[in-house]
């Protein structure tokens, strides 16, 4: 692989540059924001920044992979796909936040700045071709999110969430760094391409240092994607964080960690795939089973969605285990689908949530569907899609992942996954049943719905794509397939 090393090529980190400039712009403008009513202006600066970054990253699509900064970053189809995904997640999060931030009294300037920094970190992770760069991207992402998780005003839960995320996140970063150090020790380079070519010579494949490094790296990534047994932080953190940030974490961090996982494991550690596929097989089964079974018992909607997001990480891991064009393509497609439907579900949660973490209990959803038909219908679409019921996109996502697994001969894994999705139907449908078929307990105050035009926009976008990607999946799947050519 001939990597041009001597060049800097600022254009390659174009999306990051635009995002950071927008973040700095928000910080500057924040100084002049006098009243609460001017706050949405800050959000729109961020949103325009996201759109600009999207335009830059779209210009990378379909071109030859371009390396920059001495082979530290690359702009290729894979990074363009994930950058698009992160910017969709980030942009929708900003739109969801604008009303929420004001209603909950969160410091808007810092909130939007950190959201943009977190997105920058994700994009860096998807573009990096060097373990050091990957680590830094992950840290930019994590540090921003540690703080964002604790930003809900005057909430002990939020502080707990932030502290837990920080302590466990820092611990997992230690694992990741140790893994990087051991890989460096075994291969003599932190550059992914060099590691790949050293391993291709098959001389050190049995080296304990290499295997330990791989295991530690997997642990570090496993924490970020909430893979069992490293998932224990997720429900508490997701519950305490401000709701739009929970949505952002559940899709963005997961996708970023999967992007890195694919680049490192499917890309340069491909020679070790018998070892890590075995580990991921076990991880996948544990993750989806624990996620689904625990979600059955939840009464708090955010905790339920947290366990559901753990379960979905398990499904996505199946695609990574299956590998190949079909499996990896299905992973990318599933991530895109999951991003839109899960953000949509969180947008509904925000609409129903009241100031001070009220109405997060499932019982608060009783009867909402009959009083607010559109909202109930929207939630039903997202729940059906998350459960994997046709014709919504969640079904197509699962279909592609499972069929890839069957094709590669992982029949047992597929059977476990199908059984798991059956279990998950129960708790997804319970929400819908609550909304449409139950009356609120007598005496309970009627839940008012928090309406905001930007939030309605998010809901419309999410519904549109959840339906459209389910009915016409082929062009999106093609998009995903085109993004992974370099692994094959």
């Amino acid at each position: 692989m001939g990597i041009e090393t001597g060049t800097v090529m600022l254009s390659i980190i174009g999306p990051e540059v635009v995002l950071v400039l927008a973040a700095l712009g928000i910080m500057m403008t924040d100084l002049f924001v006098k009243s609460d009513s001017e706050q949405p202006f800050l959000m729109w600066i961020g949103f325009v920044g996201m759109l600009g970054a999207l335009a830059v990253s779209a210009s990378f699509w379909g071109k030859e992979a371009a390396y920059g900064f001495y082979g530290m970053v690359v702009a290729d189809n894979f990074s363009a796909f994930f950058t698009t995904l992160f910017l969709i997640a980030g942009g929708l999060t900003l739109l969801m936040s604008s009303g929420y931030v004001r209603a909950q009294g969160i410091a808007a300037g810092e909130y939007y700045t950190l959201t943009l920094f977190a997105t920058t970190g994700m994009v860096l992770m998807a573009q990096s071709t060097d373990l050091i760069m990957l680590f830094l991207g992950l840290e930019v992402l994590s540090v921003s999110l540690y703080v964002l998780a604790g930003m809900a005003q005057d909430s002990t839960r939020s502080a707990e969430s932030s502290l837990k995320y920080f302590m466990l996140g820092a611990f997992s970063t230690g694992f990741l760094l140790y893994g990087i150090a051991l890989l460096y020790g075994a291969c003599g380079s932190t550059r992914l391409a060099d590691i790949g070519s050293v391993l291709a010579q098959k001389q050190i494949l049995r080296e304990p240092m290499l295997l330990a490094g791989m295991g530690l790296l997997l642990t570090g990534f496993g924490f970020k994607i909430a893979m069992a047994p490293f998932h224990r932080w997720a429900p508490d953190v997701y519950e305490g964080a401000p709701t739009p940030i929970t949505g952002f974490m559940s899709v963005g961090v997961k996708a970023a960690a999967f992007a890195a996982l694919l680049r490192v494991f499917a890309g340069s550690l491909a020679a070790l795939s018998p070892h890590w596929k075995e580990l991921l097989w076990i991880g996948s089964v544990l993750t989806m089973t624990i996620g689904n079974v625990a979600a059955l018992r939840q009464t708090n909607i955010k905790r339920m969605l947290a366990y559901s997001s753990i379960a979905h990480a398990g499904y996505i891991l199946i695609g990574v285990v299956a590998g190949g064009s079909a499996g990896t393509g299905a992973v990318l497609y599933y991530l895109l689908v999951y991003t839109l439907m899960n953000i949509g579900a969180f947008a509904v949660v925000i609409t129903i949530e009241q100031k001070g973490e009220k109405n997060l209990n499932l019982s608060a959803y009783a009867g909402i569907g009959s009083r607010h038909l559109a909202l109930g219908a929207a939630m039903a679409v997202f729940m059906f899609s998350l459960a994997g019921i046709p014709p919504f996109s969640g079904f197509m996502g699962k279909f592609y992942i499972f069929s890839a697994a069957v094709k590669e001969g992982y029949i047992g894994l597929t059977i476990i996954a199908v059984l798991n999705s059956l279990v998950s139907v129960y708790y997804y449908l319970r929400v819908t049943v609550m909304m449409f078929m139950q009356e609120p307990e007598s005496g309970a105050e009627e839940a008012a719905v928090f309406f905001h035009p930007a939030l309605a926009g998010v809901l419309l976008i999410a519904i549109f794509f959840t339906v459209q990607m389910g009915l016409f999946p082929s062009s999106y799947l093609q998009f995903a397939q085109d993004s992974i050519k370099m692994f094959l």
């Binding site: 800097v8 950190l114 540090v143 921003s144 540690y146 005003q153």
Partner: protein, 167 residues
């Protein structure tokens, strides 16, 4: 010689790191951490990275440890310290032993440096350590270097948000 020194300092680093966790008195823990930092610095010297060693001592053993100690003192852990702490004599003995150890380590560091200077692979014309680090930092590692600044900025913004929340 280098091998033995590596095992000596590596061993001291590991033992002090374990001690740091086991000590109940936070000040003792902090002092153990200083020993870890200094022995790491000595390992850097052993690798021929004098610049890194100096930075390690100045930044970690110096600046960051001072901050740690400040925080520990400000948290006012006096009662705990008294009940768990060593007696005065034992503390004096420990600090004397610690100082002695540090001196020994530093002297050892000097010895290694002399050793390396005599080593045959030292070719004249190789740029100095500091220059080599600087060159790498502004060529190969330019992007990580710049991204670190974003990381720090995010951390500063975050610290301000979380600290200012209670006003």
């Amino acid at each position: 010689m280098e091998q033995q020194l590596f095992w000596l300092w590596g061993g001291i680093a590991v033992i002090s790191a374990v001690m740091m966790i086991l000590k109940r008195n936070p000040v003792h823990s902090a002092l153990c951490l200083v020993v870890v930092f200094v022995s790491l610095a000595l390992l850097y010297v052993l690798l021929g990275a004098e610049f890194l060693a100096a930075v390690q001592v100045i930044v970690y053993a110096g600046a960051i440890m001072v901050l740690f100690l400040f925080v520990i003192m400000l948290l006012n852990l006096e009662t705990e310290v008294r009940s768990q702490g060593l007696s005065r004599v034992a503390f004096k003995a420990c600090s004397l032993a610690g100082t002695g150890l540090l001196l020994l380590l530093l002297l050892g560091g000097g010895a290694v440096k002399a050793l390396r200077a005599m080593a045959p692979e030292q070719v004249s014309g190789v740029p100095g350590n500091t220059q080599a680090v600087a060159e790498l930092l502004f060529t190969k590692y330019l992007l990580p270097f710049e991204v670190t600044s974003i990381l720090l900025l995010a951390a500063i913004v975050g610290a301000l948000v979380l600290a200012g929340k209670r006003d």
